[in-house]
């Protein structure tokens, strides 16, 4: 097991190096610092001097890989690749193009993101499993038939509809919670209530339908027939035999997204004005602040790889048949 984790960790390194090189290529070679400066300063009447100054302030005036004019080791370290790309490996994100400290921003903004995303995942999991178990219990009946149709209908509706509809109905007409904004500390809950609700409801369709399929697959297995032949009641069979086996793919599906919850939800945070990492990313893209986008792309890759490793480990915990070596 330990050997497996160490090996997986070693496998992860080339992936991260690849991501690093690829983002560097996209952000500095395809789209040169010159282009960035022109974009920020505007195309018209921009002087060469202004561009040089913009680049100098942000450290974009260095060579890409090799600094011939520097001394000793500085030939390597005083380059864009070293300062902007390699330092990502130690989570030194540096300054954004607008001059803010990215690391500080991320530490501040990840808490609102988590406060929104964690309840959505946990409540969503409970709701989806409950709905799916009910559909599986009534399989082959009208409850199941219309339930699945409702699920498909809910899947087919755009996420934006749930957001705007929820804001209008609950925020504006019923006036139960504020439409958008965020509070400090415990006060935040009334701002979070509506987005969490919308996040859960908008995922019921696809989630329940998928879990229902998992349950039905297990219900048709031989060991469930054995359980019936023992004389167990249908609800005991569902909870003790079907649920436990179907939970293996469900849990591992959840574990893989856990680390990426830090990244926040792009849509919900923007619409509800929640100062999390999702809205941070969206705003950065909007302002063409590539330093932030770069940092978030790399962070996303790291978290996703951690998620995949956690998934494999959670398999060994949930399923006695799986042994990692």
């Amino acid at each position: 097991m330990t050997a497996y984790i160490i090996r997986r960790f070693l496998y992860a390194l080339p992936v991260l190096i690849g991501v690093n090189l690829f983002t560097f290529w996209l952000f500095f070679v395809v789209n040169s610092p010159e282009d960035m400066a022109r974009m920020h300063l505007g195309d018209k009447r921009v002087t060469e001097q202004a561009i040089q100054q913009w680049k100098h302030e942000r450290g974009y005036d260095q060579p890409l890989f090799f600094n011939g004019s520097a001394e000793g080791l500085n030939k390597i370290t005083e380059t864009i690749f070293f300062t902007k790309s390699l330092k990502l490996f130690v989570f030194e994100f540096g300054q954004s193009d607008s001059g803010r400290h990215i690391g500080y921003d991320i530490r501040q903004r990840m808490w609102p993101s988590l406060a929104l995303a964690v309840p959505i995942v946990l409540v969503g999991l409970a709701v989806n499993i409950t709905v799916a178990l009910m559909l599986a219990f009534f399989r082959g009946t009208y409850v199941d038939f219309w339930g699945v149709i409702l699920c498909v209908a809910m899947m087919s509706i755009s996420g934006l509809f749930y957001i705007i509809g929820g804001q209008v109905l609950i925020g504006k007409l019923l006036n139960l919670v504020p439409i958008s904004g965020y509070g400090t500390g415990i006060e935040a809950w009334k701002f979070l209530l509506l987005p969490v609700l919308i996040g859960v409801v908008s995922a019921i369709g696809s989630g329940s339908r998928w879990y229902r399929t998992l349950f039905l697959e297990e219900i048709n297995k031989d060991f469930v027939r054995t359980a019936r032949a023992k004389g167990l009641s249908e609800s005991l069979i569902l909870f003790r035999h079907v649920l436990r086996n179907a939970l293996i793919p469900i849990l591992t599906g959840v574990v893989v997204v856990l680390p990426t919850l830090f990244m926040g939800s792009l849509l919900l945070e923007s619409f509800f004005g929640i100062p999390g990492l999702g809205s941070y990313t969206i705003d950065a893209i909007d302002r063409q602040d590539f330093a932030i986008v770069r940092a978030m792309v790399f962070l996303g890759a790291v978290l996703y790889i951690i998620g995949l490793m956690l998934t494999d480990i959670s398999y060994t915990l949930a399923d006695p048949r799986v042994r990692l070596d």
């Binding site: 070693l10 031989d222 054995t226 032949a229 167990l232 009641s233 436990r244 086996n245 006695p320």
Partner: protein
Amino acid sequence: MLLNIDHLQTHLGPSEAPVRVVDDVSLQLRSGETFVLLGESGCGKSMLSLSLMRLLPTGGRIVGGDIQLDGESLLDLPEVKMRAIRGGRIGMIFQEPMTSLNPVMRVGAQVAEAVRLHDPEQADRINERVIELLESVGIPDAARRMHDYPHQLSGGMKQRVMIAIAMAGRPALLIADEPTTALDVTIQAQVLDLLKQRQRDVGMAILLITHDLGVVAEMADRVGVMYAGQIVETSNLRDLYQHPRHPYSQQLFRATPSAAKRRQRLEAISGMVPPLNQRFKRCRFIERCEQAQTICQTGLPPWQGDNHSGYRCYVDAAQTANTSVTVGSQTTDSPDNQPPLLSIRDLRAYFPIRQGVLRRTTGYIKAVDGVNLDIPQARTLALVGESGCGKTTVGKSILQLPKPTGGEILYAGRDLTRLNGQALRQLRSDIQIIFQDPASSMNPRMRVEDIITEGLHAQKLGKSPETYRAQVADLLNHVGLPADTMQHYPHQFSGGQRQRISIARALAMQPKLLICDEPTSALDVSVQAQVLNLLKRLQNTLQLSYLFITHDIAVVAYLADRVAVMYLGRIVEQGDVTQILQHAQHPYTQALLEAVPTYDPTRGQKPITLQGDLPSPANPPQGCHFHARCPLAQTKCRTSYPPMKQTENGHGVACWLA
């Protein structure tokens, strides 16, 4: 009367067009009696057993008749009371022990679940009761093994756990649905013996479902032969074997391979079981019956006899006669002096076990470990052994799929293991393989024509599309399929027809050697006979050699000229088929033959000579691999591996005692 099934009718599917899987079945079962339902796949025997438990699949329903247990109708019981019957008065075990236990629950917990439901008096000593039950089904070290998960147990052990679960409620009736079909013959003997022993101890009745005439002979007091949803004959064991009355029973016996039929063609039952979505207006066996008469067309045949013994046919049993056909140009059984077609010398196939961070090789699974074999020209060499003994790996190694670890495979003066690229590719067409499961060994999205010609394209043997097509038609004709089926897809054929397509695909390459890896194990007896006949005919006409990999001794007796017995990666005995089957020297061969269920009315209880499971090939026992299971093992056997001793006429035995 413990169980009384009275004119039971079970339907599946929509009520407008039902599939009549059980169509007017009556049978009676007394306490302590074993009644065997014999039938081929799709005859409704499993549906009958599920009807008894009221556990039919979705859409299945009982539409007529009655089922009474101790005089009480099971069909009228509310679901809550029925649950007390399931696992209580009636226990049930299934065909696939591998998948019939919950993989994420410890086996002890799965037994405990049944104890808690049906034996409430044991509630405060559940653990002790579970250990008792596991010990009673012969699980060694039960107190420790109860904490194992199912995947940690072998197939035979899992079936024992299933029996323990079924016994937890102290049932009056045990339904066993093909309980040993998925198990090796040695393990089958252990499980059947266990069932009989538990029956003697607690006096329960057994309703055993099987397709295997050997299992019938081993277990039955009385037998019901099922065909297309109906019982066509009921009889006690001796009468069925000595005077089968229904034409289907007779034809079934004649289709079963055996040593006595070596010189004959097996009488395959032509045609297929009729679809059950119809209401029969005449005898349902008529299309396949050799004795059909005009009267059979007129209506449903009457039941001749009583509840205890009888058959459903117009024809009087006394009229029927046994006929047998002798194959014309039959090969002789005497050994000849031709050089072998292919020789295997010291063949080894090792698979590395890798461990640690750097995946270093820490050991090897020696699937094949020093095998010597000669495959004779135009003859059949049968390779037999339990599953996991490495016999399939031998077959694949000959094809260099993958290349063996060591040894030589001499064919046409060349060592196949040293060939590469073009030279190997050319020789590959001389050696073809057919697999156990024809359904999964053919690409479902390719037409028969493309399946058969794919190898020709690869070898660039063919010319124009027209000659290809003529060739395919010829091949299909050879294996007994109409030429116009070449445009069909594999799913449009039955199992036996698909296996014939596999054979045609192999023949397209004009091979000299055909490796047949359990080619009839997935087929019913009547269909197996068709395939065996075909193989025998092709050998005679095309002078093919066969390496026949199988665990079925009856097929070996019928088809093979030479036999090699394999145990844990090594050949323990080889010789001519009569030498091996009648004068086996090695204790393992003797035990293997002993384990084959056969009908012998003169013989009493036979002892189980082979205990336990096949050891792991990653860690074979010191000395003779077989000594741990050998009843005759001596000190020498525990320390060093015996050499292969050659006796007269090429009979070889690797045993210190031979």
